[in-house]
């Protein structure tokens, strides 16, 4: 049997601000699931707290709207307990990078089989607009009226530094791109982090205008496609080349085609992906979108499952009576 989008909708009224980027992401995800062959009951969405984190209420799957920052840890328990489930984490930049930062990097390191959707609106939406760990320096918010003095994370760089096996970036406004990235992430076994630039039209409107604006986007959107030379610009007039260990932007005309970086998302070594992530520190100029890295590494939940099976085949499944006498016994009669 196959699903339609409606099968993944719930009876809960969706309660984001009108115009919020979360709506388009929700639609994309629901449509994406409709297209899959995976059973609804085998899907679990876990979120923390935040506007983004309301997500599970709107997905007709199993779900938990948990507590702030802990979704990756809770999802780890779900995935490890039952590796057969398709586990998804949804959270905002505060939820996953501020209070939840540690659980995120450890989940990535362990390569737990889960897909993490990081809704990055570069602001704390639910608490009504304080700067977040991805807000640009100097940002004025309720908690930084004179401008923030925090230097932001680059979520892609952070994930790569944390040994992530799959890292991608997409945009709420580009449904097609989002869907393609969801497909790739779903196809990847192990942790997959997707940074989704998401517009908060109430507290941080137009944060991504450089990548969404009719004029700006052509100049700034660098689409990463595995196996393809990395060129961009309205007339694809720009290209990336290596300079030392660094990826730099040049006029395509100024270099011979062979010098242009051919994107290799499957490179064992994460150096190239990292170098690409350094091209932009936030969506303020030419910014790569797409899959930065996608490699296989043994998956924690699988490894543990196999260890259990191995132990059972080796020792026979547990016998309580034997266990209780395993330290040696004596009898009194």
């Amino acid at each position: 049997m196959s699903y339609t989008r409606v099968d993944f909708q719930t009876d809960q009224e969706v309660r984001w601000c009108p115009g919020c980027g979360d709506y388009t992401i929700l639609a994309a995800v629901q449509n994406f699931f409709a297209g899959l062959d995976i059973k609804r009951e085998n899907v679990v969405f876990v979120s923390g707290i935040g506007c983004a984190a309301r997500f599970p209420y709107y997905m007709n799957t199993y779900g938990m709207h948990s507590i702030h920052g802990r979704a990756p840890a809770i999802a780890t328990g779900v995935a490890v307990a039952n590796p057969a489930l398709s586990v998804w984490v949804v959270g905002g930049d505060g939820d996953l990078l501020s209070i939840g930062g540690n659980h995120l990097i450890h989940a990535l390191r362990r390569n737990i089989d889960m897909t993490i959707l990081l809704f990055n609106n570069q602001i704390y939406g639910l608490t009504k607009g304080q700067y977040s760990p991805t807000s640009e320096p100097g940002k004025t918010t309720k908690s930084s009226p004179a401008g923030s003095i925090d230097y932001p994370f680059n979520p892609v760089s952070l994930a790569l530094g944390a040994e992530a096996t799959f890292v991608a970036r997409t945009l709420d406004m580009d449904r097609k791109h989002t869907t393609a990235i969801l497909k790739a992430a779903h196809a990847h076994r192990g942790s997959a982090l997707i940074e989704i630039y998401q517009n908060c039209n109430v507290f941080n409107d137009k944060a991504f205008i450089q990548l969404t604006g009719k004029q700006e986007r052509h100049a700034n959107r660098i689409d990463l496609v595995h196996g393809r030379p990395i060129v961009f610009g309205a007339r694809k007039e720009k290209a990336l080349v290596w300079k030392g260990g660094q990826a730099v932007i040049v006029d395509r005309a100024s270099v011979n085609p062979g010098a242009i970086i051919v994107h290799d998302a499957h490179a064992e070594d994460s150096s190239q992906a990292f170098a690409l992530s350094r091209l932009a520190h936030g969506p303020y100029g030419p910014t790569p979108l797409g899959v930065f890295r996608d490699v296989y590494r043994p998956v924690y939940d699988d490894e543990l499952q196999e260890a259990v099976v191995r132990s059972q085949t080796a020792r026979g499944s547990g016998d309580l009576g034997k266990l209780l006498t395993s330290l040696g016994t004596w009898t009194v009669d």
Partner: protein
Amino acid sequence: MESETHTTNSKGPQPVTLESNGNIKTVNQDRMVIRFAGDSGDGMQLAGNRFTDAAANFGNDLSTLPTFPAEIRAPAGTLPGVSSFQLQIADWDILTPGDRPGVLVAMNPAALKVHLKDLREDGILIINEEAFDERNLYKAGFEKNPLDDDTLLRYNVHKVPMETLTKAAVKGSGVSGRAVLRSKNFLALGLLLWMFGRDTKVTAEWVKKKFGRIEPVMNANLAALKAGYNYGITTESFAHQIEVKPASLPPGTYTNVNGNTALSWGLIAASQLSGLPLFYASYPITPASEILHELVRHRNFGAKTFQAEDEIAAAGAALGAAFAGCLSITGTSGPGLSLKGETISLAMIAELPLIIVDVQRGGPSTGLPTKPEQSDLFLAAWGRHGESPLPVVAASSASDAFEVAIEAARIAVKYMTPVILLSDGYIATGSEPWKLPDVETLPPIDVPYATGPNTQDRFLPYVRDLKTMARSWAIPGMPGLEHRIGGLEKEEATGDVSYDPANHQLMTDIRAWKVANIANDIPEIEVDDPDGADLLVLSWGSTSAAVRAGVGNARRNGAKVAYGRIRHLCPFPPNMPTLLSSYEHVLVPELNNGQLSRLIKAEFVRPVVSYNKVAGVPFTSGEIHGKIMELVAP
């Protein structure tokens, strides 16, 4: 003052009979307290555990108390570096490792310095004399050698050249260099075995099993063991052997187990009884780590363990696994419990079964990590924001930890609630003979699985069983039962988010009632009151053994005193009110500043006498005895 004498005379063990046995006399004792003390490097825990095994196999009842140096590994020979192992063996049902030893083995000056004060006047002192050199004496802070002055006058001292003996014995074993002396704990052990008329068979077997793979070490240890034993036989210096007859324990099969192990086994048993796969998530912390170490070795039971990045992640992962249908546990000690509060509160409102094990240690903050204390009771009962009631149970001994683990699982699953299980460092590391239960007779644990959609259009996660008020458990993978839960207040039945005042009041009341109602599903407190006392002594957790022993002493000294142990601390057992009202005085001894006392007062508005000790060491039965005498004294 000393404890557990069978006579009203408290002067200590009395020679009962003297019978000839070859050329050496044997003195019978009803019980003996033995303490092995040495440097952390001297292998005293091993010696103690082996002796325990030998005694257990012989059929003595016994109770042990290992004491490790505090968390830092101190330089060899210093006072903080001293490690000790005490056990009491007896020919009758014993309760505690005893107060003051009658036999002390001191492997170096530091060990002597630390432990001599505890040795009984007429006590036997076995000394590794070659360790008493300048350097060690200095490190132990002795101005002059206590072996040369009259420090030891009052004791029955045996200086043994353990190092020479060991070197001689080990020669040819293949072990050489500094490693040679590693066997000297076996030498001491051999000597002790002889003293107590045990042969070395059990121990030798164990050595072969343990060190079989490293022949030289095996040989060295066997040789040292034998040498120690023979030293006892040959040397003149020992006037007599000591015999402690087998205890008349109830018939059955026994093993010797510590609390962390028994608790781990209880969790595995609960998993088997419920048919729920076990999931244990933890971040290492003294003294709870061994539960993780034990469970990870039993994957063949389908048990999964997860070493998390911190305690919050461990609680979170456990909660996730509970959502996914496991018998889920997160174990920690005090500081970790403080960190888990927010997640436990989520488990509470999500109404998922989750067991939180807290092996208590000395607090506050990092406190005294290796010492026992009972000071997390408040935190367990009331340490969450908002109205977050949940059941709390406590283990009172190593073997009890097995039963309490099963009980915690039963309550968690039946009532779909997090349960906090309190143990402590004393239970965790101390061991005692445990009469194994017949695993066939352990009652199964039914799981309130959701069976299908409970309305025609949708599954409502918060529809309840009206008897237990538990919601049903719909587990990912079950078709048609997809649902969402979370930490915002939820509407009764539907589980949808609700900000409605009346609903919040209703849900708050239901959650409180659900926990309170468990009182009707737990056993009453059994009070042992042979002679209609006016004084009731109530204990909980690890102090119970010392308290029961103290009560015993008091009775033998003519006091009328009743005794009861509280296993369920929240809710209290149903007969608490009647109990409290049927005694004039209630004494509550605790290793804290009166936490159970306050819980009782807050609940029953009834004065109790608190007897508190917060010194990082257990009560002695003597202290309890003394306190009781104060109260019953005319």
